[in-house]
Amino acid sequence: MFKQNKFTVSHAPFWHDGDSIKEMNLNIMAAALPAILFGVIQFGMAALGVMCLSIASAMAWEALFCMAAKRQIVIHDYNAAVIGMLFGMMLPATIPWWAVITGTFVCVIVGQQIFGGIGANPFNPAVIGIAILTLSWKHLFDFDTALVNYQLAFTALDPLAALKHQGPGVVEMFPLSSLLMGSQVGAIGSVFGIGIILGGIYLIIRGYIRWEISIAYIAGIIITAWIFNITDPAKYATPMFHLFTGYTLLGAFFLANDSSSSPINLIPMFIYGVMGGFMTILIRNIGVYPDGTVYAILLINLINPLIDKIRPKAFGKGCKQCVK
């Protein structure tokens, strides 16, 4: 008789394409790196500190929650790290430490873990965090005062706040090329337009984000802003200005794309993206907030479960031989 081996027994299929959550998250972080590095160079060590604290505290909160809830600790999938990173990217470099820690608590615990953790969050956790923080400590997110001590070689005004207060006359102060190259006041990870776009393209090519959403979002921004702009150019800024300022690009490539809070089917993805762009501009142009991205994303997250019910007929459905 030969020795009886113990074999691995599991269910079909026995192949897997090798992708994993961890791989996906590492790719997201890699894609965001250019924008973050630029932010760190522009805003100095304070920015680096905020980013590190944000990522670290997000992971720590997740670990703590898992311990408290007696769940397996899974911080090595970098899920919390991605949330912390995206949250950090939306913060000004001068934000105090306690706000970062409170914010990541909101993101990770309130925004995701209590709903059942990864994949269960109905809203983008990082955006929920920012929304709750801006609701509470609006002054911390006033980029003009937050960055007042920096010596910057360009117009040191938050473009969107300037637009809100002084009208579209300010658009001339911000040439598009310099906006794209990061010469603007803003959050750590949101100023470097080129970097974000490159990161986004990388993720699209790698298949980690659904390009339909990003494209639809940008289209929504451009079309809506353009309609406003041609109806009254003296009151509303140009589409490109909106596209390259604030959190817009971050929204299009990193925030609207959070997988669990965005639709999967084709038509819903387009509705979702266009609605996001539309709401962003609507809030900026006729709402009270200088930047509407955060609320626009939350709104489209809200309608996501409903619109994602629009899907192609499943195989064999609606055939003519229908008995019923």
Binding site: I132, L135, S136
Partner: protein, 197 residues
């Protein structure tokens, strides 16, 4: 007798604590708990209505025809609500302003009608008072507690007294509408956790 009175009284404080156990009467709970004062004010007003209506319903329980009982309950409750409304307007006007539309809305508060139907209509006046008082006090305490948390974090004060040092910047989210929902949700979670043990 005394024993059952104690039982009816205490059940409202924990076992059937509204609004946590019976998820009813949420609107005032969410709307008026920006501060402890508002919360307790609302709670006391509701308690008054609860006790009075419970008492009256219980006294009349043998006279009221079953078919029109709901109509009768509503008349009784609405009467006491209006009394509260007028009295508060006359003597605690600032509080009346803050509670606004929620005072008249006690009339549709599911707890009040619920107790009349489920308890007072079937029990003696003394028990009904105990029940109304217990439920009312439970409700008041819940509102007070929620108000305390929200006021403390969201405004840095409790009953108007500053709690934290001067450097503290309040977590305004808590006193906003969304904060009310989130805070109540998390309190409910806490209750479930404690209740489990």
């Amino acid at each position: 007798m005394a024993q059952s009175m104690v039982k009816e009284f205490t059940k409202g404080l924990w076992a059937e604590l509204p609004p946590f156990r019976l998820v009813l009467g949420l609107c005032p709970v969410l709307a008026v708990t920006k501060s402890v004062e508002n919360g307790i004010g609302m709670g006391v007003a509701t308690t008054f209505v609860l006790v009075c209506s419970n008492l009256l319903v219980s006294l009349l329980r043998n006279i009221i025809p079953v078919k029109v009982r709901i109509a009768c309950f509503i008349v009784i409750i609405a009467t006491f609500v209006t009394v509260v409304e007028l009295v508060m307007q006359a003597y605690t006007y600032p509080l009346f302003l803050k509670l606004g539309i929620f005072i008249p809305l006690i009339v549709v508060n599911c707890i009040v009608l619920g107790r009349a139907e489920a308890f007072a209509f079937k029990n003696s006046p003394t028990l009904s008072i105990a029940d109304g008082l217990g439920m009312g006090i439970g409700f008041t305490l819940s509102l007070g507690a929620l108000g305390a948390i929200r006021e403390c974090l969201g405004n840095g004060t409790i009953l108007g007294n500053t709690v934290f040092g001067p450097g503290f910047q309040p977590f305004t989210f808590m006193v906003e509408a969304p904060g009310a929902f989130v805070c109540l949700g998390l309190m409910l979670c806490l209750m479930n956790l404690i209740g489990k043990k």
